[in-house]
């Protein structure tokens, strides 16, 4: 009997499922950042709004990267449905706290995938996910840096205006 399973795809059903789950999470990140951009825009933080528009685009690119990987390996990539995207925040600071929280969640999720891949001996996907681990290093750095500005600059007086102007200057090098 031919090994039809392997002929069609090198992804196991389980790995395909966790990758589709990650596709959904990246799409959710993208939607969440868009909501954050909306909040910042509405409240007069134009630079932060731009920052989150860019983040939102990046997350969509992450989603597509996994999407195409699944298809390239003969699997089925599922276009995700995104529900319950938070769009109200209590403060400028809370937006950035949530952004960092979201990045931490994504890092954990990617760690879990790599863990599952090792168990399934799917080293091809481990190699693929390495790019995401590196990306998370940068993403967490930027999110943490942004939040630190609130302590360094302080929110009193024109503090928030100043923070908004420092946000675009954060770079990971």
């Amino acid at each position: 009997m031919k090994d039809l399973l392997r002929l069609k795809t090198s992804l196991t059903e389980e790995i395909e499922a966790v990758l589709n789950d990650q596709i959904r999470k990246e799409a959710h990140s993208s939607a969440l950042y868009l909501a954050m951009a909306s909040w910042c825009d509405r409240n007069g933080f134009d630079n932060s709004a731009d920052h989150f528009y860019k983040q939102s685009d990046e997350e969509r690119q992450h989603m597509l990267k996994i999407f195409k990987y699944v298809l390239d390996l003969g699997g089925t990539a599922v276009s995700p449905t995104i529900l319950d995207v938070k769009f109200e925040f209590n403060s400028f600071r809370e937006v950035f706290e949530e952004a960092l929280e979201q990045e931490v969640l994504i890092t954990q999720s990617i760690n879990n995938i790599v863990d599952k891949c090792h168990k399934a001996k799917d080293y091809m996907t481990v190699e693929f996910m390495n790019w995401f681990l590196n990306e998370q290093k940068e993403e967490e750095y930027v999110a943490r840096r942004a939040l630190e500005l609130f302590d360094v600059i302080g929110e009193e007086g024109t503090g928030r205006w100043e923070i908004d102007h420092q946000i675009p200057k954060i770079k990971y090098e």
Binding site: M1, K2, D3, L4, L5, R6, L7, K8, T12, E13, T76
Partner: protein, 120 residues
Amino acid sequence: MILKEKRNTILEEVFRTEAGCVYQSDVENCFYVDFGGRAIKFSILCFFRLKTLVDKVNLPDMAACPERSSDIEIISPCACEHCYVLTLAEIAALKELLAGAKVMLELNSILKERLCRLVK
């Protein structure tokens, strides 16, 4: 069973239960699911799509729901021309059949890897 008649493709039995049987065709690279009085041909992708859909059905929820329409579930994988209209018991049986088939396919995969590919 439906598939007793002669076909021009040789079918190998993957897994059988009381309720049905899954066959593989090495010539056509596809599966035949003989279940509920019909044998339906599935491509590899459609076969796993079918399994995903069947696994998604939550049997306890279905049993607990008082509406008449929840007695049956319609499953049409991959826009195939075929669809299944199944009762709760039938879904349980199909779940078992497909899960068993998947284990056998994985076993076949492992055997191929260990016995054939690795020694080449």
